[in-house]
Structure formats: C-alpha cells, structure tokens
C-alpha cells in the first residue's frame, strides 16, 4: 500500500488542478488519496511498450 501523501504535496496537487476542497474534507481526502495511488500502481504492469490500450472498446465478437 502507498504511503499517505504529505499535506504540502496534496495541497500542491489540488492547487495545480485548480480545485478547492472544503477544509473539513481535506484530511479525509488526503488519506483516501492513498486508495487512488494504489489503483495507479496496480494498472502499471511490467508490459512492453507495444502493449496497446483498449482505446476503442470492442467486445470480441461485435
């Protein structure tokens, strides 16, 4: 599991995105950001650079 992002780094991410977060939500969101980080890590597997995205989603036998 990822480590919790620091207050400063999380504030920087929010500022860069132009997002305002209610003060009462800040700590909960900073902790929950760990969950997003975990997903971010999971979708990165050791595949080659030729592994294509599912950029046009097509069920197998459409």
């Amino acid at each position: 599991m990822s480590e919790t992002i620091s207050v400063e780094a999380f504030r920087l991410l929010l500022d860069r995105a132009g997002i305002r977060v209610k003060p009462e939500s800040f700590e909960d969101m900073r902790n929950a950001y760990t969950l997003l980080q975990a997903m971010r890590e999971r979708v990165r597997t050791s595949r080659g650079y030729d592994a294509e995205p599912a950029h046009i989603f097509t069920p197998a036998d459409r």
């Binding site: 929010l14 995105a17 209610k22 969101m29 997003l36 999971r42 979708v43 990165r44 597997t45 294509e52």
Partner: protein, 469 residues
C-alpha cells in the same frame, strides 16, 4: 409468486386474456406508492397523471387490437438520469433542478413504444455515483426489507420500487455495479447487458466506456421481456452494436442441462471473502446446477482487485471529464460525496488514464480466454447483506474490490439473482456473467437457478403480504 403483486409476465398474461385492465393494474401500483413512498423515497418525480393517461391509452389500444408487446400496459419507472421528454430529469443533483429534457432517451422511448405505463422518475445517487448522500435536494432511497438499510446504488430507487411493487419493472444504469448492487441488496433481479446492446443516448454519463442501461425486475423472465424491448442498434449512441437481436425468452425453459458453469472461486473466497449467507447462496447454486445437469468447473482469473482498480480508475477519470466544467464553476452545488470523488479525477494524469486502458486490454483478453470454455461464470453479487444506510463507507468500492466492476471493464453481460436471506432477514445474491452478447444463455442459466429455489416467493415484510405457496 407473491399473492398480491404480479410479475410482468403474470400481468401480461392476464392483460392479454382480458382478465386484467392496465388501469386497474396502474391504480394498484399508485395505491402502494401512496402507502410506502413516504418511507422509501424511491421516486424523485411521481408522474401520476401521465401514468393514468398511459394506462387509459393502453387499455383502449389493447381492447381495439390486442397487446403490442408483453410490456403493453405495464407500470414501470426510470432512473432519474434517463431523459424524459417534458418530465423533470434531475440526476439527483442541484445542478439539474429545473432540467426538463425536450426528448426521451432512446431507452425511455423504446419502453414507451412497447406500451409501458410511466409511473415516474426514480431515485439515484448524484449523477449515478457516490451515495448515499443526505445533503442533496432529494433524500436517498430506503431498502424495503428494512428502511434503515442501504439499497446500494446508484439505481437505488429502481431497486426499492421494484422490490416494494411500486412498479413492476424499471430501468437502471450500471457503470461499476449500479444495476446489480441494488438488485442484490433489494432482493430483485438486475441485468447489465453487454456494452453496446442497449443505447445510452439521452442518459447522463457516469463513465462513457463503462456505462450500461438495463432492466431491473422481480424475476429473470421479466428482465428478459424488458431487454427484448430495449436491445437494438442506435446510431445516436457511438458505442451501439449493430447486430441481430435474438429472442431472449425463447431459451428460458431449457433449464441448465448441458450448460458449463465456471465458478470464480478465488474472487469470493479469498480476494474478498463473502459473508456465510452469500457463500451459502453460491454453494446452493453450484448444487442446483449440478442437480439440473450442468457441469460445474473452477475458473481462474487475476485477482478481483486488478479488475476493480482498472475499472474504478477509468471511471474516476471519465466522470471527471464529463463534469469538469460544473466542478470548476459551481462545485458547491454538488453533494459532498460526489464532489470529493470528482476531485480525485483532477488529480489523475493522462498517462495514468492510458495505463489503466492498457491494463483493461490485458484483463479483457484474460477474461475472454477464460470464458471461452464455459457458458456462464458464477460469483457473488455483493459481499454481504445491506449495511445500515448511515454506515456506508465514504470511499466504498475504492477501498475494497466489488464483484461487479469486472464485467463493466470487460463489457460482458452479467446478472444478479437472489440466492437467499442473511441473518438479518435481508436478501443476498449470486452473480452470473457470460460472453459478449451472450444474454440468451445468461438469462437461461439465471432462470433455471431461480426456478430451482424458493426465493421469489417472499416480498418485504413492510408490504404485509402472505408468502406465496
């Protein structure tokens, strides 16, 4: 079947035989709405006058030339992210107060063309994600089995309304489980069709590449009847599949003999161990299928967490793209749960999104290969009974994998069917899934299980009905 509330198939047979009037049927539903809606909050907008007008018209048409479909004269409801011409469509959000579309969504139009009676617009989570929320202009729906319990979401009103017999069927939408979750917790049947089978045109997006529209009803047969009216190509939906639509009810009576059922044991036993009542339902399904002549084998896939991580990451970013402007301009108009989820979208990068899409391709390939040797796969619908509505984790589905997102990620059809009751007297469910456009065999397998079990005989106690024999 329940002694007082008809299924769609039962009502259709009576209407066709001239033994039941759509007006009478609609009035019975409206009477239940009057009694139970104050507790259930299943409706955002009750279209009482429209329902009566639809019912009178259906009655006249049927008297003149017979029913045009099994849905003719059947009272239904639509999740309130589905556009309805001239009728408020709120998406349960302050952003959409006063939003009255000029056109029906394709799915709403399809049900209207089949002759249904529109009872109203049904409660959802805000823009179909993040609930239950108590800071929106409308309250969250309550579970008819226990009104202190969660319905799951986001097709929460549809789940509650069908379970309580306020409507005979309804439409939900499903981006990570929003049809199947409420079906599981409200004790009804919910079908997420193959991606592209039912048009998304006119439905507010939750995540473009994961969104599905589908039926929710008391029985599998009713879902099949509704799907028949909904399926088909629509050029207005860029993801719509252009292929023939089979007869979804034709195979229902075939039973399970000869089917091959793959059990995704790892998912519900170790990746997210389910409650004993849910496991008992899965075990009962395996036993039932074996006794009906099906072959049951184990199927092995990557961890459930792999599928849910890719799915929820894609959903997060696509949701953010859809509602970016609202978020930047008027964030205060969103409820807190939804607003905070939108914030996460803004913290993802383009590279993150493409990596998730690359993972998606790998997982689709894996599941496609695994499903090549079986007709349907079996796992849990939800890990447990419904939790208390005030104890639903704020980051639900991000902190623990759910059982439904995997089939949004792969686009494959999946259905939740009741499989019993837990220690709190609340319903539990199994989930079945099939290959793309395999709805006919999926419905066949679900119907066979349903017919082999007694779980369709019991309605929520609040309705005060005797259990059918």
């Amino acid at each position: 079947m329940s002694t007082d509330i008809l299924t769609i198939a039962e009502a259709a047979a009576l209407i066709s035989a001239g033994k039941l009037s759509p007006v009478e049927l609609t009035e019975a539903c409206l009477a239940r709405v009057k009694v139970f809606e104050p507790e259930l909050h299943a409706f955002v907008t009750l279209t009482e006058e429209r329902a009566r007008a639809d019912a009178r018209r259906a009655e006249a048409e049927i008297r003149a030339s017979g029913p045009k479909s099994p849905l003719h004269g059947i009272p239904i409801g639509l999740k309130d992210i589905i556009d309805t011409k001239g009728i408020l469509t709120t998406c349960q959000s302050a952003h959409n107060i006063g939003n009255v579309p000029g056109k029906d969504a394709a799915s709403a139009a399809a049900l209207d063309a089949a002759g249904t009676v529109l009872m109203g617009k049904l409660t959802t989570h805000e823009f179909a994600d993040g609930g239950p929320s108590f800071d929106l202009p409308w309250p969250p729906a309550r579970n008819p089995w226990d009104t202190q319990r969660f319905t799951a979401g986001s097709s929460s009103g549809t789940g509650a309304a069908v379970a309580a017999g306020l409507v005979l069927g309804g439409l939900g939408t499903d981006t990570g489980g929003s049809i199947r979750g409420p079906a599981a917790l409200c004790g009804i049947v919910g079908l997420k069709p193959t991606y592209g089978l039912v048009s998304r045109a006119g439905v507010a997006p939750a995540a473009y590449s994961l969104d599905h529209i589908g039926p929710m009803a008391w029985t599998t047969e009713d879902c099949a009847l509704m799907l028949q009216a909904l399926a088909g190509h629509d050029p207005a939906d860029p993801a719509s599949a252009d292929r023939p639509v089979p007869d979804y009810t034709a195979g229902l009576a075939k039973g399970a003999k000869g089917l091959k059922i793959g059990v995704l044991q790892r998912w519900h036993e170790s990746d997210r161990p389910v409650a004993p009542a849910v496991q008992a339902g899965i075990d009962a399904a395996i036993a039932a299928y074996r006794s009906l002549g099906a072959e049951v084998v184990e199927i092995k896939l990557s961890a459930l967490q792999e599928y849910t991580a890719a799915g929820f990451f894609i959903a997060t970013v696509e949701r953010g793209a859809a509602y970016e402007r609202m978020m930047l301009k008027n964030p205060e108009k969103f409820g807190q749960r939804y607003r905070d989820r939108l914030v996460f979208a803004a913290l993802c990068t383009g590279m993150d999104y493409v990596q998730a899409l690359r993972r998606r391709r790998e997982l689709i390939a894996e599941m496609t290969a695994a499903m090549a040797g079986v007709d349907v796969v079996l796992t849990a619908g939800n890990p447990d009974e419904a939790p208390p509505i005030d104890q639903v984790p704020r980051w639900d589905n991000l902190d623990k994998p759910n059982f439904t997102m995997a089939f949004n990620l792969t686009g494959m059809p999946a259905i939740c069917v009741p499989s019993g009751f837990g220690p709190n007297g609340l319903p539990v469910s199994i989930q079945l899934a099939a290959r793309p456009f395999g709805e006919a065999v999926l419905l066949q397998a679900a119907h066979a299980f349903e017919k082999a079990t007694p779980w369709r005989q019991r309605r929520p106690a609040m309705l005060g009905l005797a259990e059918a024999a």
